[in-house]
């Protein structure tokens, strides 16, 4: 009872409960829902959002916000393809991801220097760079689809981790790109929990002033945060190419609010200091599930927006209401003696 109440009192808890409820209802409506193939489908669909979300979670944990990540991802993926096609060398697939991450990190550095170095507001800076990076991509790199992606990318796209047959005998497959999400998640979990840098991120998100006072070099940490977030966005962009087998410079941008919604549903607070890798995965999972399952249930896709909107509001609102009630009860329980 008490444990349940405590779960209810966290945003993730509520989000999770709603998600479970959702799944149960869908399972009742459509028994095919509770099959491994659904899970694989979810994993495939939430892949790019998930990778983006990791970087955004770190930024939110540090008390910032990043809306430019999709532009970084699009820029990095397109630039990578241009570079690789330009030099015309046979590179192993890992090199593609390294290049994309490096380009992403470079763009992240721009954010980092403006935010950490100049001390500008993170929302303004990333709003600016969202427009700036995207403009630079379309203006200087090009606007045409790159469909003739190199053989390595195509091969990687066709590499399948798991392939199972679903209820109707079709193949549902988890592409190797899923490993990118796994790698980013593990790496970020290690960074955030087992390195001092990660703890400094939370510390800055908790209180910038206090962090400065105990000798944390805030500027340096902030710059690094945005560089890492940029690199992760670059990986997300490259992953997108391996999924769609083409580089479309118009892709990705536009999903930034969706990614932020997933991260917030996963328990990261927009005011900083909170956010976990696992929670973020949960948030991405829930958003992807809602998108995917509503489609499966034949509900028009516009419902998704409606449901996700509700979830964000309820998921962040209810805990506050519970918290207020608890605080009030706590004070009333105290004796009148001062």
């Amino acid at each position: 009872m008490n444990a349940l109440a405590r779960i209810f009192a966290t945003p993730q808890g509520i989000v999770f409960l709603v998600a479970v409820l959702f799944a149960v209802v869908l399972g009742l409506l459509n028994p095919a829902f509770f099959t491994p193939s659904t899970l694989i489908d979810l994993a495939r669909n939430g892949l790019v959002t998930g990778i983006f979300a990791m970087g955004v979670m770190m930024v939110l944990a540090s008390g910032g916000i990043d809306v430019s990540h999709t532009a970084i991802g699009a820029f990095a993926m397109y630039a990578t393809m241009k570079i690789v096609l330009g030099i015309d060398l046979d590179l192993p697939i890992i090199a593609y991801f390294v290049i994309a991450a490096a380009i992403g990190a470079g763009l992240g550095l721009v954010n980092g220097l403006l935010i950490g170095g100049l001390g500008l507001n993170t929302l303004i800076v990333t709003l600016g760079t969202l427009s700036f990076f995207r403009g630079a991509l379309l203006t200087f790199l090009g606007t045409t689809y790159i469909t003739s992606v190199p053989r390595e990318v195509i091969n990687f796209s066709r590499t399948i981790l798991i392939r199972i047959e679903n209820a109707v005998g079709q193949m549902v497959s988890l592409p190797a790109s899923f490993l990118v999400l796994v790698a980013v998640t593990i790496a970020l979990a290690i960074i955030m929990n087992f390195t001092l840098f990660g703890r400094k991120v939370y510390a800055i998100g908790g209180s910038e002033e206090a962090a400065q006072r105990i000798g944390i070099r805030i500027k340096r940490v902030k710059v690094l945060i945005y560089v890492i977030a940029g690199a992760i966005a670059g990986l997300a962009g490259m992953t997108h190419v391996t999924l769609s087998r083409m580089a479309n410079p118009f892709d990705l941008v536009g999903m930034e609010l969706n990614v932020i919604a997933a991260v917030v549903l996963g328990g990261a607070r927009i005011t900083g200091g909170h956010g976990t890798v696992l929670g973020t995965l949960l948030g991405v999972f829930v958003i992807t599930m809602i998108n995917t399952t509503l489609l499966m249930a034949g509900v028009p896709s516009y419902w998704q927006k409606f449901v996700i909107g509700c979830l964000i509001i309820v998921g962040t609102g209810l805990p506050i209401v519970f918290d207020r009630l608890a605080k009030h009860r706590q004070r009333m329980a105290r004796p009148l003696e001062a």
Partner: protein, 306 residues
């Protein structure tokens, strides 16, 4: 003399940067180089009617001689095109035979005929039976709807063993959307055997989903696209056949018609525009039809580099 004057003709396309309209731009540029007219092409960054309206507003302000336009949504453009006509600008449409506020509309072919042609190809691939679905770029895109409507009608008449499983699907001319919707389709209609695409991205998105589901070869895909877009899937056979009309030729034809309109020359039925595929045009009211479609399969894909 009107013929000697330099005409400024701007072609407004649905979306800039995609292969299709880049090819059209090649044609526009070729026309400009050959005739010395000031022919250029512009297009919005996203396929949005409002952005086209804004661009045309600007062109009216810039007092160009003619605007040739490939509209995202003909209805949405009517007011601003009317304004252009009022301002004395010649307006030539393409893929928009329903437009009222135009001087002429140039169509590569009769849309119904083209739709029937694609359906015939799909039916052949499917062996004349099975479930199929159709994509359009936008539900408001007149041309796509005419192709698809004619195709469906043709199927009902000629291939009664084929069934259309659901309403026309909208891809927003995005590969990602076509991909997602195809996945959805396959899940809902496991017996689906054919997909007909309209926008260049439709077949590519559909092919990716079909291939991922391990159904390539089983689900036949036919539609409008370009070799540069659909090439990899034509090669593997995931896409059965694509058709297109050469946008460069269409671009030249539009500009040609625009120049003639500016110069006050009359367009007549059966006329030769001097552009391949438009050698004997059919005139129906303000609409001109050519016979300019091209079919591509694995066998002849190497002949096209756009």
């Amino acid at each position: 003399h009107a013929q000697d004057a330099k005409h400024s003709i701007v072609t407004v396309v649905k979306l800039s940067g995609i292969a299709w309209f880049n090819r059209m731009e090649d044609g526009v540029n070729e026309y400009a180089a050959e005739t010395g007219h000031d022919a250029t092409q512009v297009g919005p960054a996203s396929a949005d009617a409002a952005l086209q309206v804004q661009m045309i507003e600007d062109l009216i302000a810039k007092k160009v001689d003619a605007i040739t336009v490939v509209p995202n949504s003909p209805e949405a453009l009517e007011p601003v095109l009317g304004k252009a006509l009022d301002a004395g600008i010649k307006v030539i449409g393409h893929e928009a035979s329903s437009l009222q506020n135009i001087t002429y509309d140039v169509e590569a072919f009769d849309n119904a005929a083209y739709g029937r042609h694609l359906m015939e190809a799909l039916a052949q691939a499917m062996g004349g039976e099975g479930e199929y679905a159709v994509f359009v770029g936008h539900l408001t895109a007149k041309t796509h709807n005419e192709w698809v409507d004619a195709a469906i009608e043709y199927q009902k008449e000629k291939y009664p063993n084929m069934t259309l499983v659901t309403d026309k699907l909208e891809s927003n001319e995005q590969q990602q959307t076509a991909y997602q919707k195809t996945k959805e389709l396959l899940r809902t209609y496991p017996n689906l055997r054919g997909i007909q695409g309209s926008a260049g991205e439709d077949v590519v998105g559909a092919a990716l989903a079909v291939e991922e589901a391990g159904l390539d070869g089983k689900v036949k895909i036919v539609g409008t696209s370009l070799v540069s877009v659909a090439g990899p899937y034509l090669e593997t056979g995931a896409i059965e056949m694509i058709s297109f009309w050469d946008p460069a030729k269409a671009g030249i034809a539009m500009n040609k018609v625009a120049s003639m309109a500016i110069a006050g020359e009359e367009i007549t039925d059966g006329m030769d525009l001097g552009v391949e595929g438009y050698n004997a045009i059919k005139l129906d009211g303000k609409v001109l039809y050519g016979q300019a479609w091209v079919d591509v399969t694995t066998d002849n894909m190497s002949e096209y580099d756009f």
